[in-house]
Structure formats: C-alpha cells, structure tokens
Symmetry: C2
Subunit: 204 residues, 2 copies
C-alpha cells in the first residue's frame, strides 16, 4: 500500500479542484449538436479499429450503423463476424476488390471505387443510420479512383445529424479541411519488426 | 466514369505487382505468434475506442475479452451496453472512482487503483481470456497511484498467448519499452474547439 502524507493529499485535492473547475467550464461552453465528419488517418494502427469501436458505442445507444469498405480487407473477418450479433442494426457492404497490389488492375479498382461511392450515397440516404463508416476511403482518394471534390461535396449534403467516419492513411488535405475531427495514428513501435506475424483477433 | 488509357493502366499494374512482391515477402518473414502488449497513448481520440474495436475483433474469433477500467468513465455507457450482446464472453470491471478531478481524494484514488490492479491480475489468471483491456491504466501510472515496476513485472509473468492492451495518455517510457506495439493518437483537429458538445454514440 502506497503511503500518502496529509500535505501531499491536500496538494492533490487543490490541484484537482482547479482542474475540475476548468473542465466544467469547458463542458458548459459546448452547446452545438451535429453529425460529425471524422477522419482517422496516419501510418499507425487503430484507424479502422477505432471506427469499429465507435460503431460499438453507437450500437450501445440503440442506433444503426452502416459500413462501406472501399478496399476489401483480407483481414476484416473478426469485426464483421462480431457485428452480426447486432442483426439488421449493422449494414455491411464490402465493395472493394482487395488490396490494390492484389488486383493490379486500375480499371477494375476505379470501377469498384465508383460502385462503393454509389453505395455510400445510398447508405447516407437511409434515415435511421446514426453512423456511416467509410472504411479505407482515403486509399481510394489517394490513388484518384474517386474525384475528391465530388466526394467532399456529396458528404456536405448529408443530413445534419449523420456522423460519418473516414479511415485510411494519407488523408487528402481538403478532406481534413472539411472534417470536424481528425486523428492521426502514429506508429511508435510495431511487433512486425520483431518478426511477430499477424494473429487472429489482433490484425484480423 | 473516370477515363483510363492503356499506358496508365500498365504503369499501375507494374507498380502494384512490385508492391505485392514486397508485401508477400514481408508477410512470409513473420513467423512468431505471441500474446502482445499493446499501448494506445497520445492526446488524440481513439485510444480506448480502438481497444474496444480490437475487443470486437477478438469476439469475432470466438474468444473472451476482459476489461478493467482504472478510471471510471462517465462516458463509457455506449460500448458497455453494446458488449452485453456477447453475454459472458465479455467480463467488465469498472474499478476506478471517476476522473481524478472529480474525486479530489488522493488516498481514495490510490486505493481504487490498487484494487483495480488486483482485479487485472485476477483476469490475467483466467485461462480462456484472449484479450485483456486495461483501460486508462496509463492515467493511474502517471499519477503514481501504482508502482510502475510492479505493473511491468506482473505483465511480464502473464501466460504467453494473452494479448493485453493498455490505454491512456502519457504512457510511461518503461512501459513503451516493454510493449510490442505502441500507437500514439495525435489530435489534428477537434470539434470541441468549434463549440460542438459531447454527443451520444461519439463521445459516450
């Protein structure tokens, strides 16, 4: 058991009381409710994983979640199977054709991205979806499979309470500009470097 | 429909064929399987959310997940309710006493952190848990509620196939040193700055 003397306890109390006052004032100053455009980008792990964590949160509030995958992940089995527990409250569309280095076919990739964007627009039109995940859309934008201006314009026309989360590395600057919240996942350390392979429940 | 000429398509094919060769060689070079110590830290969003996304992935593979929360979040309702869909495959222990600025009581915070660590050890001893989430453990370590050396030594004694994920900002350097994978979530842009309040399904 850690020993704590009274002066240390009192310093802690005062510091935390100040912190609480700042925190409370900050919370009180926020009054706007709106559907957010969220971007998770960067070379680190957790971009899609955090999006699916947010899906879980939204489902916990009784809302529906739609997912459009722009690049068909070989490694998405875990979360897709788990989300089946929520029945028709999760709508999942895998529209991509595999990693771009698997297809090696630009026309096919562009056509797949265009079909995926049509599907995204269809999901945006559903009135009862609370969160739309556009998984790896940044990849499709990076390779110019889709027109960036069109994508941003379409996103701007969505209903005001729909939250959208876009994942994938190398998010384009105008998308970051248009977004309400942007997080960059930075790789500090990765076990692949130490020869550890992709494992069930972690990478897929 | 985007126009693509043949030379562009061929350049793309060659580039992606090279990329695939590199990718395949890299995957083949990884052979080790082990329970990972993962740390999600940094000031950005998505540290806990990505941990719960990983929980979803693990559940999709039929494994059990245990969660020990070191700081009782006022804002964790969404994911906790959603994870109830998985019944006894999710074991959830909220051990903290609220944000440190809410309790303002150092002794109480230290006692709560110590109880939480005991619970974490108990979860580590369960043979059928695939992933243990130690949510906001970094906060307890940052304020020295727990002894860092003890925590790292205890983590090192876990069974070799147990994945552990530690969340919270300001991860201590020796914990990063001990970890297999570390991601720093960096805040690029946050809607709170624009006066948007915390909303159901997003922040809680």
């Amino acid at each position: 058991m850690k020993e704590i003397d009274e002066s240390e306890a009192e310093r802690h109390r005062r510091k935390m009381a100040n912190r609480k006052a700042v925190q409370d004032a900050e919370v009180a100053s926020k009054t706007i409710e709106k559907g957010l455009l969220i971007v998770n980008t960067g070379p680190g792990k957790g971009k899609s994983t955090a999006a699916f964590g947010l899906a879980l949160r939204m489902l916990g509030h009784g809302r529906k979640v739609a997912v459009v995958q722009f690049i068909k992940g070989a490694w998405d089995t875990g979360e897709r199977v788990a989300l089946e527990a929520f029945g028709d409250r999760v709508i999942w569309h895998t529209m991509g054709e595999g990693f771009t280095w698997d297809t090696q076919d630009l026309k096919r990739d562009v056509a797949a991205a265009e079909r995926a964007w049509e599907k995204a627009l269809e999901m945006m039109a559903l009135p009862d979806v609370g969160l739309l995940i556009l998984d790896e859309l940044n990849i499709a934008l990076r390779y110019d499979y889709l027109n960036l201006d069109t994508v941003i314009a379409d996103l701007a026309t969505r209903r005001p309470d729909l939250h959208v989360i876009v994942t994938g590395r190398n998010a384009k600057a105008p998308l970051i500009e248009a977004a309400d919240m942007v997080t960059e996942m930075t790789l500090v350390k990765h076990h692949f470097k130490a020869g550890v392979k992709a494992q069930a429940g972690i990478e897929f």
